[in-house]
Amino acid sequence: MIAEKLGLFRSRLGWIVPLIIMGGTLLVAALNLLLPPDAALHVPGYVIALLGKYLCYALLALSLDLVWGYVGILSLGHGAFFALGGYAMGMYLMRQIGTRGVYGNPVLPDFMVFLNWQELPWYWYGFDHFAVALLMMALAPGLLAFVFGFLAFRSRVTGVYLSIITQALTYALLLAFFRNDMGFGGNNGLTDFKEILGADLQLAGTKACLLLASAALLSGFYLFCRRMTRSRFGKVLVAVRDAESRARFLGYRVESYKLVVFTFSAVMAGLAGALYVPQVGIINPGEFDPANSIEAVVWVAVGGRGTLVGPIIGAILVNFGKTIFTGVLPELWLFALGGLFVFVTLFMPKGVVGLWPSLMARLAQMRERLGYQQPQHQPEAEE
């Protein structure tokens, strides 16, 4: 019965979510652009960038929910796909700097000049075209996920073991991207971006457009994922999550399903990272930090795994909390995050989104206890 209510609740929210996201960001962007800076309702520029960042995190959380919530693959390395998409965008933005860099080299980014490199490495070719960069934002994470998933799922690596190797994957990339001779700016990463698609990144209008683009991408993927998870395909995914061997003996090639969804999810995460980079102005190897991927798992858990809308709420809530908390008590943030995860796991297994129906169930129970005869009782699942 709880699940039925949850389903109802979710279906109503389903249409509202993109409306809120798009309407909210439009309103905020308008308040930022149209009002003079001294107006009471004027939204300062840093809020725009902050919101844009939250929405990119929300898209990362959504991509994680698709694999964890619906297929049961707990990826502790989704930050790697996010960072790869971010690097692809960063490379494009670096090439747009042109002669405006410190060294004024028309082709080579500053860090390459600094390293005394004479020419652009081959894998930087084409990144001055946005179309190529866009392709790579999807292709780089997608290809990595495909190869990784192909090997892991075919060997039927599941559960904790799979989580550990996803963690190892992002850690290996962290170490690799730290190296200067990788050609991605080493420790410092890529930064000092000037413009995107010819628009000055410092302009309020550009920032507002990036925020709206993030909102549109998030809304689009949300609707797509919603549709997919409710289709027959989505039913197979849940079947794989709940009873993998049953699905196999029914004739579903489980590894193919996992591979399709894992790869798609990695592309989503990559695009989230790509939009994240111009809004925060930097991409460095720190984005590959395993802790980032684990944080994303916390967002999903807090919001409600397997609900699509929950992870979006969770990502925004937790990051809002982080912004406030790190401003006031920065040294305690990690404890707060850890505590939050424990609390949610123990007391809110269905996350924020799960609160509503369980609240309703509580109320019904209380009413029953108070003497109202409720014909409906909670049938217990037998094991």
């Binding site: 009873a243 049953r246 003996f249 029914l250 004739g251 699942a381």
Partner: protein
């Protein structure tokens, strides 16, 4: 050609639907199956019995591709060697399996459970595009009727009673439209009435499909009234009608007498 096979007289000249030839499986030196050979004729219903550890479930695992035998082969419809295929390929060839513990998709509705089992092209790209045709809806309703779950079609499978889950799983097997059904302890934990109804259901299914039932419950095996294979230590100890095998002194010694 259906319900009333003369017991023990599966026609020798027809090609067997399933043929296990010298199958051996060992786990850490323990021989779960020891050169097991077995033939199941088309349209037959066979009961497989044997004490715990006799290799009944391992035999199912080998046929359905879960376990690869060390030696031996398993032929389906004469020429397909199942030991070379994975679970999904074997299922799509037309072999359905019911687990000992009822395994259904607990978080999905009874209706969706049957929908997931319906025979279709199972590749992700096809399923992604597939809707639900009217034909499929009718078929699902028909199956729900057969397994008496019509009234519960919108309930979550996890809310069903144990016996209903067993039936739902049998319904899912039917939806797969397999040629061969492997049924592992279908009446475990069922009431007497449910047991009788299940025997009736299996006999009904057997009118069009070949069925292999692994079972502990002797009253149930007697109710099925079919040819019985007794497994012991991974190979066939005796075969024939239940009366025939239960009078076999070796069978009494290893199994029935205890």
């Amino acid at each position: 050609m259906n319900t009333s096979h003369p017991i023990g007289a599966a026609p020798e000249y027809t090609q067997p639907l399933l043929y296990l030839d010298g199958v051996t499986v060992s786990f850490d030196g323990f021989r779960a199956l020891n050169a097991l050979s077995l033939m199941i004729a088309p349209q037959e219903m066979r009961a497989v019995i044997g004490p715990n550890g006799a290799g009944k479930t391992t035999m199912m695992d080998v046929i359905t591709g879960k376990t690869r035998p060390d030696t031996g082969s398993v032929f389906f419809r004469g020429n397909t060697d199942l030991t070379q295929l994975d679970e999904a390929a074997i299922a799509n060839l037309g072999i359905g399996r019911k687990f000992q513990k009822p395994t259904v998709f607990e978080n999905q509705s009874v209706y969706d459970n049957v929908l997931l089992a319906l025979k279709t092209d199972r590749r992700p790209a096809k399923i992604l595009m597939a809707g639900e045709s009217q034909n499929e809806r009718d078929r699902i309703e028909e199956i729900l009727g057969i397994v008496k779950l019509t009234a519960r079609r919108h309930r979550l499978a996890g809310e069903l009673s144990h016996g209903q889950k067993q039936w739902l799983e049998i319904g899912m097997l039917l939806a797969q439209e397999p040629q061969l059904l492997l049924v592992d302890e279908p009446v475990a934990g069922m009431t007497d009435a449910e047991t009788d109804a299940t025997a009736e259901l299996l006999r009904e299914i057997n009118k069009t499909r070949t069925v292999v039932v692994v079972e502990h419950d002797m009253t149930f095996v007697r109710a099925l009234d079919v040819k019985v294979t007794v497994l012991h230590e991974g190979s066939v100890l005796a075969e024939g009608s239940l009366d025939h095998v239960s009078s076999d002194t070796r069978v009494i010694e290893v199994y029935l007498g205890r």
